[in-house]
């Protein structure tokens, strides 16, 4: 039953994917991309990947859509029409793409089937991760254990990728604060949705709850699905919602650009510092067991701290990027 439902979702996903490529209206394409993300998230959930589903929904369907829409507002909504709809080059591209897809499908027949317990993925490393999570780290969520401790170095790299993207966008577009005189009076342009009563009131009602959810996801990541990335995205979403409702300027006065920069850098440094503490206390980088007398307790501390670092950096970067985009719109 679940498998059939999965197949149904994936078929929808395939159709959505083709529609995304086919449509000339970029706005429609972005919306369909959001739908595709949600379909993928649902499929992930069926495939037992609750953490990934949550992340895909928050980042793929949420943040990514907001960024695309922000970019579309500043560029154009439609692809330009091509004169020749079917040229030889596009036929050639279509042919190559089709052939490669067939080759990939041809290769699948040698692959382990879905859910096969004897597949190398299940047989080789997985039992060790499950057992060690139980014995050495002692938290219920094995995904968090692998993410934060066993492969914590990958996660550090990932935080650095996010940080790099933040640095890059701010370098390219300038910060939200710098392109506008500080303390400018609220004008039509940067007033957000101030004149719309219903969204504003509802937004005020919801923002605290979204923030609460963000913190819950942040600190509950060891016990259920969640963790720094998801929490960072959710917290950023609440700030972005505030900026949409109350205007850019208000949002920047609540969390100024300097604080956002400090968040970007500080979160990464916090992660790094926890790792370096491992070296200083006589073990290897990112070994949390030396952080406390009891190694298991040390692991808990380490995971808690680095998840905080991740959350801070992700929130800082996403809010900064949003401001950088939004500042262009009003400038």
């Amino acid at each position: 039953m679940t498998t059939l439902f999965g197949i149904f979702l994936l078929t929808l996903l395939m159709i959505t994917g083709m529609a995304i490529v086919h449509t000339r209206n970029l706005f429609v394409a972005v919306m369909l991309m959001g739908i595709a993300s949600l379909l993928i998230a649902a499929s992930f959930f069926l495939l037992d990947a609750a953490d990934v589903a949550l992340t895909e929904a928050a980042i793929g369907a949420g943040i990514s859509t907001v960024l695309f829409l922000g970019a579309l507002a500043l560029t154009s909504e439609r692809e330009r029409k091509r004169r020749r709809s079917l040229s030889t080059s596009s036929l050639l591209q279509f042919g190559i793409v089709g052939v490669v897809a067939l080759i990939v499908i041809w290769a699948t027949f040698d692959q382990p089937r879905l859910g096969s317990p004897s597949a190398p993925v299940q047989a080789h490393l997985t039992p060790w991760y499950i057992e060690s999570t139980r014995d050495l780290i002692d938290i219920p969520n094995a995904v968090t254990a692998v993410l934060a401790s066993f492969r914590g170095y990958d996660t550090l790299g990932e935080v650095v990728v996010v940080f790099t993207a933040g640095v890059g966008v701010l370098f390219l577009l300038g910060t939200g604060a710098s392109s506008r005189a500080a303390g400018a009076p609220l004008s039509e342009d940067n007033a957000g949705l101030r004149h719309y009563l219903i969204p504003r009131i509802l937004g005020r009602l919801l923002i605290p709850f979204i923030l609460l959810l963000g913190f819950y996801v942040q600190f509950h990541g060891e016990y259920g699905p969640g963790g720094g990335f998801q929490a960072g995205a959710i917290i950023a979403a609440s700030v972005i919602l505030y900026a949409l409702l109350e205007g850019e300027q208000r949002a920047l006065s609540v969390i100024p650009q300097g604080v956002l920069l400090a968040m970007m850098a500080g979160g990464t440094l916090l992660f790094g510092a926890v790792g370096v503490a491992g070296i200083v206390l006589g073990s290897n980088f990112l070994d949390y067991s030396v952080l406390s007398e009891d190694p298991v307790n040390g692991q808990h501390w380490g995971i808690l701290l680095i998840e905080m670092g991740i959350g801070i950096t992700v929130a800082g970067v996403l809010i900064s990027i949003f401001h950088a985009f939004a500042a262009r719109a009003t400038a």
Binding site: G17, L67, A71, V104
Partner: protein, 116 residues
């Protein structure tokens, strides 16, 4: 049995190449980035599919469950999702700058302006 066991991978193949087609065939820069997102999402699907185990649950150890799907592919894809959004954000930042400088986001028009 092949259909049920391999369907996920087939969809991965089709989605991967659908996204790739958008990247190579569409001249609109935003459309290219949308294609890139789709292209990367297909890879996520491939990884998550291989982590699933028949009759297992999400690798969160509560009471009762004994068989867990593999946490490792999930961790890898968490990383990959974040990498993907980072690339998209930087790409969109570039698109905005290109729009400023060239007044267009169509690849052939930009190339036309670059040729003196």
């Amino acid at each position: 049995m092949d259909i049920l066991g391999l369907y996920h991978y087939w969809i991965f193949a089709v989605l991967l190449m659908t996204g790739f087609f958008a990247i190579v065939a569409k001249p609109n820069l935003v459309k290219k980035l949308i294609g890139l997102s789709l292209f990367q999402s297909a890879v996520f699907l491939c990884y998550i599919t291989m982590g699933k185990i028949e009759g297992g649950t999400a690798p969160i150890m509560g009471e009762g469950a004994e068989l867990f799907s593999s946490p490792l592919p999930q961790v890898l894809i968490l990383t990959a999702i974040v990498v993907s959004i980072s690339t998209t954000a930087l790409g969109l930042g570039l698109v905005l700058r290109i729009k400023d400088e060239y007044g267009s986001i169509e690849e052939d028009e930009i190339q036309g302006q670059d040729q003196p």
